[in-house]
Symmetry: C2
Subunit: 358 residues, 2 copies
Amino acid sequence: MTSGETSLGDLGERALVQRIRERIPAGEGVVVGAGDDAAAVELAAVALVTTDSLVEGVHFRRDLAPARLVGRKALSVNLSDVAAMGGIGRYAVVGLCLPASVSAYWVDSLFDGLLERAAESGVSVVGGNVSATWDAIVVDVTLLGETPRPVLRSGARAGDVVVVTGSLGAAAEGLRLLAQGARLDDDGQLAAAGPWTESSAGAVLDCLRAQLDPRPPLGLARSLAEHELARAAIDVSDGLSADLAEMCRQSGVAARIEASAVPVASGVIGLERARGRDPLELALHGGEDYELLLAVEPRRFEELQELARVWGTPVSGIGEFYAAAPAVLIRDASGERPLEPRGHDHFRSASTPHRRQP
Amino acid sequence: MTSGETSLGDLGERALVQRIRERIPAGEGVVVGAGDDAAAVELAAVALVTTDSLVEGVHFRRDLAPARLVGRKALSVNLSDVAAMGGIGRYAVVGLCLPASVSAYWVDSLFDGLLERAAESGVSVVGGNVSATWDAIVVDVTLLGETPRPVLRSGARAGDVVVVTGSLGAAAEGLRLLAQGARLDDDGQLAAAGPWTESSAGAVLDCLRAQLDPRPPLGLARSLAEHELARAAIDVSDGLSADLAEMCRQSGVAARIEASAVPVASGVIGLERARGRDPLELALHGGEDYELLLAVEPRRFEELQELARVWGTPVSGIGEFYAAAPAVLIRDASGERPLEPRGHDHFRSASTPHRRQP
């Protein structure tokens, strides 16, 4: 056992890798697990594969996000991509870049969260790679999955309903709260509410959790594919405005949504109004929601609602696709206007809330 | 078209991703390629999966390695792992962490090499992820593959021959040459020989290529699995001493090797002798050889040699496994002594030849 103060430099690479391997449980379908040159796993004839990274200073900050939640989120963002194909995750490999100054405790906590999330979602961790780096931690997860039939971004047709699962804006609100000093502890409980009082604690907790520990609608996603209920799907990671524009572009259709129908997360409504801001903005452009955006035939929308009730996942019809050059319009009391995507550009942002102070 | 001076900050994330996607050719078995939430690919019932990263300042330096060769090596190190399972690579996903200051030209060159290496080895690139970072470039590749039967590290038995493919030490020698100012150009041709004269140019070229553009014995590896010729396999990435110790540990046997039988790369012999050093040291401990270390039944060694001739890959029997607690002995004219692994520890090295000067 090492103390909380042990750094990776003290521990050494071999001991770290050994320590990680020993924690990985055996998994169904795993023919050869971590510890050989490659893993060997049983998979359906058509497999899904996706990869996504969390980079320190870009996607998280060590002083703002407990390591356990970074581990959970590193898997969740990949689960969201597989869900958006109508699939389930089966096997994950984890690539870590770690500065030698990181504590062994931090890495242990990261794997606490990652393995816990894997167990929750039926995923087996089957291998990975550890490398030193000189600066920022990188947690790179590649997820293999299966689906009865892939649901693409390109399947939306004129007349289909624009559907979104869950509610939007809470993850972006969570980022604002982190900047104000609000915090979760290792267990995902509220450790600090920043400037907010007791009456807002529930909203603050919900939004911090949406940012630090997103829960994509995995069960509903798989059922949608089984029942062929969605003609197209994309996960809402760059923000509704950007992801709907992308679905329109790939499907060759336009979309019109009703501002009043967009499911703004309840916590966002209270907190943004208290700030004197329009909560809808975060729901439209905030990003990192890890909900699903779907195109559904109108005659099947009711069936979808029933299935969504079974899974306890709210679904909202927020507009329709129509035949026109790819574009997104939004309608409110003042009329109809184009909804321009305001997705985050990694290389053009001079700063991000996650960048450490120099 | 952008000029060589365009940075990723100028180009923007969306344009970069679009630019990369447009270059990726369609591939056999690719049901859904790059551009959706996840890729969907056809695979055998048992799939291989492995992941490995190249980190700037740890595994490469931008001023020492042409981007095209970094791209080639990022795939090759993963091909080596799949080869060591007796498999072939099928599909790759690529995670990139890039500072905004990197030029679009650098990323284009990286993909020149990566896609070229993919085409050579029958691999389809099916997706990936791009993220900003504040400092070091990270190229993370996950490779999916197939094998008629996985060849494990743990299958070596007492009496088996210790076999190594190709020759050893050249990649480590290449690192010394880079530190001396020797360079390859984008096309993998000799651009500078450092302090070495014309008569050493061939040796310098071979060793730089071994370091910057390793070529694992992919064809032979697959044939070995088909013919069940290897009882155990591991790729020589940490150095013969470390990887043989690992095979012994996992197989529960000891090994004894003959110093005179170790296939030291011819370039290493000339260059190390000119330095007044023992070439064997690099062959035993240098690492990054990306050759295969095998355990082969003595009665099948001749068959292996014939197969190796077909593939044009030299193989050397360098010793034998025997029943004892895991350990490695080396025998030379002065007698027999333990061969201690001197593998590189990422977190314990105060510096690496690839670390940029502060």
